[in-house]
Chain length 350, copies 2
């Protein structure tokens, strides 16, 4: 682990809903903040990328361009995409990582395509059954890592156990949380509560011993309260709550605006509190956290929103660089290898 | 269906976290609002109930008391409770409904105990595989019925299909929504998206034809947006999102308060907008909707929060009365019977 190590990130320049301009801007922000310890390779249709870079003084920054002749649309189905578009910007990014020409990839494109490409091109870490997408939820007491939020719609108890191991290392090494508390998303506090999946997963997690710092079941109401630093769940439930939580800022903000505008006194109050709400929104906004991490593949993959701002893209690149420097990938590989050696019954049970 | 029909509701007076006083108050509010079309039977330890009623002029209101010598604590396990406490206030309420002495029961007690007691004492409607708890979520465009929110942690596709039939009738008959749009909670818009359960359920719902008014998949972000009037899901996911959504008012309100108090100008603004926020909170507050309905049992059961206010209890009683008058129970029974006759392949598939 070397904090000063220079890192090279492959960024999918075609993944934004609004075109490569905003990705180039995000890359420029990240590069100028990180100095010479970070090199960024923008991957995609090179003509528009160069024209986007023209205004950004690319010569002064460690920005590079690699051409990709295809790109994946948001609506395309992931499995077909990988076969049909071997020269897509996502595939070229993954290939750079696979050949050691980049340390990590960042894409704000089609999530399914990024996950499929990472799985098929980079492959899983030895011993990992199912890579998972880890997302950050803002809570009363700081960010909480939730995984899986969508890579695996159906999972088995061992998968949840491995999500816990990976999420814990992420919280510890990348977020710098000393002893991350790991919780299991469930519908009751007692170990016997839940569905067949969570009942079995609870036993696995409780048996894991002190190393995992398992704090038991976490209910829906406990997430924003910050009861755990890492919460594991199946990718169906995780994806539902991620999208629900993301919609709250938009819908809730709109409702507050509407309610406040009805009278002149409340409208004046609304103007006065605006700076406080803008600060709060920034704190809560998922963009601040720079995207979700795909954990368990060979090579770090950060997946951002298609409608990410330049700042969100810069944050996603920074998260990727921090994850590379933290040695997260090796740590996950070692933890799972160790588990495999000492807990064969768990591996067999999956 | 007779809007003027007199209805008798058995209310569990021992179900509140703060004692029978608040339940008696809620009953008095409901009774005084409904006039002589509503009779309320308070069930529980009669001494404290009568003393709670003393201040409320019970002689002037159609309030009755039935003694129950036991009561179920919040932490007790549901299955044991039914056997060990046959004289609990919940069991006595259910017994009044079973013997036709009351039309519905309302309890703010231990949800598991209410569900178990209703299932074992009242039984399921003929053809219903799994009764489900339907809860109301406030949305941009009015309330949305979500079921199941916790009665069934593991479900099969046919169960989700029956939840759709029950939820649709509830929205139509009790909430008065003309052509309720029914959605399936899922993690993608396309019919092929989701886990094994939702993929199979999507086929069942899509095959049901126009009568169900199935609008397809609904994602987490669509719920508060009001994309559907009825959303079906397994009781695990439903319970997680119910508790998550309930916590947002508390945690979000606290965060706004904290952010606003930092500067005098925003604090002043906060004072000015307070009336608008109080109105909004009342609109969003789950208590306004008067609790959740257990659908699919013989006899209407309304389940409220243990920390319900008197007004919330009055609303729960009003929902129970409205459900009885609407003929919801018979409508569900007939719909499922019809399904059983015309769609045997669906029944066999469950």
């Amino acid at each position: 682990m070397n904090a000063a190590r220079s890192v090279r990130i492959a960024v999918d320049a075609m993944g934004s809903d609004v075109g490569p301009q905003i990705v180039a801007e995000g890359a420029a922000i990240a590069a100028s903040q990180a100095g010479d310890r970070l090199q960024i390779v923008l991957v995609g249709d090179e003509a528009p990328i160069w024209s986007a870079l023209a205004d950004l003084e690319p010569d002064a920054l460690p920005l590079f361009v690699v051409h990709a002749s295809q790109h994946v649309e948001m609506g395309e189905k992931a499995p077909q995409t990988f076969r049909r578009k071997p020269q897509s910007s996502i595939a070229v990014c993954a290939d750079l990582v696979r050949r050691g020409r980049a340390d990590a990839l960042v894409s704000t494109g089609n999530t399914g395509a990024v996950v499929t490409t990472a799985l098929l091109s980079l492959g899983r870490l030895s011993g990992i059954k199912r890579p998972a997408i880890a997302s950050m939820f803002p809570t009363r007491s700081g960010p909480c890592v939730i995984l899986d939020v969508g890579a695996n719609a159906d999972v088995r108890p061992l998968h949840l156990y491995q999500f816990a191991v990976m999420g814990r290392l992420y919280a510890q090494l990348v977020l710098g949380i000393d002893e991350p508390r790991v919780g299991l998303l469930n519908i009751g506090e007692e170990p016997t509560k839940g569905n067949a999946l969570t009942q079995a997963a609870h036993s696995l997690l409780a048996d894991a011993g002190g190393g995992l710092n398992f704090v038991g079941n976490v209910e829906g109401r406990d997430i924003f309260d910050g009861k755990a630093d890492v919460v594991v769940c199946d990718g169906f439930t995780g994806n539902v709550i991620l999208k629900l939580a993301e919609s709250i800022l938009t819908v809730g903000g709109g409702m507050i605006r509407q309610a406040v505008r009805r009278r002149w006194s409340t409208a004046l109050g609304g103007l006065l509190i605006k700076p406080a709400l803008v600060d709060l929104m920034r704190h809560l906004d998922y963009e601040t956290y720079g995207g979700a991490l795909l954990l368990g593949t060979r090579g770090i993959c950060v997946i951002g929103h298609g409608r990410s701002s330049a700042l969100a893209i810069a944050n996603a690149i920074a998260v990727a660089a921090r994850s590379v420097r933290s040695g997260l990938e090796d740590a996950i590989g070692q933890a799972v290898e160790l588990e495999g050696a000492t807990r064969p019954q768990v591996v067999a049970g999956g």
